[in-house]
Symmetry: C2
């Protein structure tokens, strides 16, 4: 079955705003067998919105609108739906009561203008909104289903989950969907696609999406089948084939981020970590500490941005820097050793390099990074030449460190 999503609101037509509700709705709709075939954003414009609704209802089984049902006069979704469906709006005193009670709970009095929110399409079911004043509406006729929802995600999401999904699940849907996800570290998108294309392209029951962020690729395999079990089997069996082809760089089969996988490993094995960062400027420490519970294994970090910070505070030998420069495998190694020694941890990381845009030399051009690992068994350093500008170089350096940690702990390579 097909679905369309119409986001309503002139603020969504400015250069600053994106419609994120449709991403949430698409994910939920796909799970229950709806294919989203069109998404639209229209302003607070009654005739345009009415046109949009007419066109969408003619083309798709399900139409969902988000936004435009507040109390103020520029909120026109109710009126436009009435125009499009040729059905009048009827006043529902029970809605006014609910809104009045809500205001009372906050010690305030309902404004007269909120009564606008008590009008519903004749024949529509009211969808109560526990987190706001605007109720939603669920309307079904021979042309299809129309769901009217409020714009704020914290109002929309529970309403959709608790009130719309159960209704949609009752419909006789011919297809179920299941998505298997693989996450892959540090391989280029083109490599991944070239290697797994021959595998996924011969499986017509699966829609494959490859999402590439620098150093981090997600492969989503969405299978369609008459039952959820079949869809799961199809997706998971293809996922195993894809994983077998890609091998070691596959770091997650459950959509965990790399930093989450590494955090789990540190906690499971009761290891501790200290990091010393130069070009990544605290990004690795920030990623690690972004997760709750990181204090269990993360002792601390050094952002050794100046030579003085590397030598005096961290304890990198001055002669290492003098003999090899700050941008060298030797300096990265000494940073990892010093971080581990200073904070007495199982593992230490050292990152140095040239993030750019300036500071490159012939020997170490912009994008050169050295990442070192130290543990009781010794040290390990990798050198990489990265492109793509300052942000990418910094982010990739942090990801390289995380992937080295993952492999070291798991004994891969």
């Amino acid at each position: 079955m097909n679905a369309e999503i119409i986001a309503v609101g002139s603020e969504l037509l400015t250069p600053q705003r994106v419609d994120t509700n449709s991403l949430y709705l698409t994910e939920k709709l796909n799970q229950v067998g709806f294919e989203v075939v069109r998404k639209t954003i229209v302003g607070d414009d009654r005739p345009r919105l009415a046109d949009e609704l007419r066109q969408a209802r003619g083309a798709s089984d399900l139409v969902i609108t988000t936004g435009g049902i507040g109390p103020t006069l520029d909120d026109l979704t109710r009126e436009a739906a009435s125009d499009a469906l040729g059905r009048r709006l009827v006043f529902e005193p029970s809605i006014v009561e609910a809104i009045e009670q809500r205001f009372q709970r906050f010690g305030r009095k309902m404004a007269e203008i909120n009564k606008r929110q008590a009008y519903v399409l004749e024949g529509a079911e009211i969808l109560p909104n526990p987190n706001g004043t605007a109720p939603g509406q669920y309307f079904r006729d021979e042309e299809g289903i129309l769901i009217i929802l409020p714009g704020p995600p914290r109002e929309l999401q529970p309403m959709f989950e608790e009130q719309c999904l159960p209704r949609l699940l009752q419909l006789e849907s011919p297809d179920k969907y299941y998505t298997a996800t693989l996450r892959i570290a540090l391989l280029p998108e083109s490599d991944v696609d070239e290697r797994i294309g021959p595998i996924y392209s011969v499986e017509p029951r699966v829609a494959t999406t490859i999402l590439a962020a620098p150093g981090d690729i997600q492969v989503h395999l969405r299978a369609k089948a008459p039952t959820l079990e079949e869809a799961r089997d199809i997706a998971e069996s293809l996922s195993l084939k894809v994983e077998a082809e890609l091998g070691k760089p596959v770091y997650s089969r459950s959509n965990e981020a790399l930093v989450e996988v590494v955090a789990r490993l540190f906690r499971e094995r009761q290891l501790t970590l200290a990091v010393a960062e130069s070009c990544s400027g605290g990004m690795l420490a920030e990623m690690i500490t972004s997760l709750a519970g990181s204090s269990e294994y993360f002792r601390g970090g050094f952002v050794s941005y100046s030579e003085q910070a590397k030598i005096e505070t961290l304890g990198v030998p001055a002669e290492t820097i003098r003999d090899h420069t700050v941008y060298s495998a030797e300096t990265a190694e000494q940073m990892a050793l010093a971080a581990r020694r200073k904070l007495n941890t199982s593992l230490g990381v050292g990152i140095t390099g040239v993030a750019g845009p300036d500071g490159g030399t012939e020997q170490t051009p912009v994008g050169t990074v050295f990442v070192a690992l130290a543990d009781q068994a010794g040290t390990q350093v990798v050198k990489r030449s990265l492109g793509g500008g300052r942000d990418r170089v910094r982010g990739m350096a942090a990801l390289i460190a995380l992937e080295m940690l993952r492999r070291r702990i798991l004994g891969i390579d």
Copy 2:
């Protein structure tokens, strides 16, 4: 004049992808007097896309499509445009030549399938694509303008800037737009709106948008007038009134981020900085070093996540932590002093607190942060109780530090 943007591509209808081209295009179109009245996303579906184009052309002066003009068979924008306009596609040998030359530059041979990209609408002007194989098209008739552009931003943006904007500027547009921007630190959105609402709402020639991120509010004042000069005067004069109302928290009139403003001040006044972070976990250092040239003033940072890191490595007196706990004004102060002393800088920052979700106590519940500043004149500490979860607490702590630095350097307060 009205414009619509149609993004083409089934991948844009998955839960993972947003269409960002339309944000770029909206900003540029607004500047030259086009109001974007609708944005749509459709899949690689020829009849749907043709319907969409028909509807859009009937409703708006300008229609722009992005994507769907690659070489493969699922790229159908050309064919759908031909269907919608009732114009045939004609083969342009010059395009094939350009694509062949592009392949030769990379030492490769053009695939036969790329010839699909050489078909253009009869009567359309070809828009060469210096960064890809897919040329764009510019078509104008009595119904309006249709622009066909490729999807990748690095291809689309220079083509729009260099080839489309000059054509659109030649049109006789009745209105010009100018946007003035103010950025405000650490005020809640509701406060800002309540205070400036009475100011902007009496100026009907300006559309006001308030964009709120935690601790950082942008007020965009977009004025419409017959000439750009008038639009600028209207927007800037309103901007002055808004700034007068909000006062000290206004940190930028040129859309600089707070960290950029602080970086500029450090460089202008030749000051140096060291930071010691606990709950923010390296986020402040990361923000500072995200800017090129930060090594001029940023000496380094300590992510003192454990007590051991605070006492042994950084040098916070053990008795300060014993007497006041790690979550205290005294510890934050000692961290700022130690960071400044260790790296011999003009200014030092210390951040400690409870980011959560665990670790709170009755005296210092989750969300309590202490941010301290040290310079040659002494120290200064603030305590804040922040809501909104771990990420927000960490981010806000870093912003509080930046705003304290800005005010200290400028002598505000």
